[in-house]
Symmetry: C2
DNA sequence: TTGACATATGCCTATATAGGTATATATATT
DNA sequence: AATATATATACCTATATAGGCATATGTCAA
């Protein structure tokens, strides 16, 4: 068997550094392809191809505007990565101390209150 | 060009689902290879090979004990993933509301105090 | 010493890249 | 209508898988 497709899931899609660069270059706003290509010093076709992968896993969305395609990050698609890696945060964040615990607890309760409101 | 090696960085190493399963199966404790293989229903050689990749990027460490090799997660190696994906958390966590901001700020200041102590 | 046990490694195959380049497609401009 | 602009796609090549299986290496037990 070969490796899973880059379009298999966000983990695979984002494993490629160029694609993370693209997402970072997009930031919060929407940008057209050539703009991104110039920003990162990449050829336009490669950018289009990377964006296609990102789109297929839902990490970006496109909006057509005339002859341009405006891409935007859809961070929600990255949540599975965040959720998975978050459980390992404890390993390096040795300061899961008393205050932290209290704050986390406060935050959790707040969310609870909000949900059963 | 082909895809970057799975051993290129944690992003690539962890893109493979089996390897995430292995890390999850390890949890906080250390476990030998066959134990993991049985747990996940995988053949021993594949487990050894996956563990090798994880070891090469520093996500696990090994300790030799007789004829067994005890593997353990080194979560710190996952920090780059966490750091990167964290900046996108804002996108889906729409409740970065007032209380959250206050708590984050409290936490931040606490860390500041601790570092210049 | 001989055999059982634990793990790593070598070999094989099908497969999907990523980048480069040319070109197709669609839209705007003059 | 003819041309320029923006983007997507097709084609090519080298490369590194992941899994299956056999086997080498090292360690324990009788």
């Amino acid at each position: 068997m070969a490796r899973a497709a880059t379009t298999a899931d966000p983990f695979n899609a984002v494993a490629e550094p160029r694609r993370r660069q693209l997402l970072d270059a997009l930031g919060g706003r929407e940008r057209p392809v050539n703009d991104l290509a110039r920003s990162l010093g990449l050829a336009q076709p490669q950018v289009s191809k990377h964006l296609r992968v990102l789109r297929e896993v839902g990490v970006v969305t496109v909006r057509e505007e005339g002859r341009r395609r405006l891409y935007r990050v859809n961070g929600r698609a990255l949540k599975p990565i965040h959720d998975w890696v978050k459980s390992y945060e404890r390993t390096w964040a040795d300061r899961f101390d008393e205050l932290d615990v209290v704050l986390q607890e406060l935050k959790r309760k707040e969310e609870e209150d909000a949900s059963d409101a």
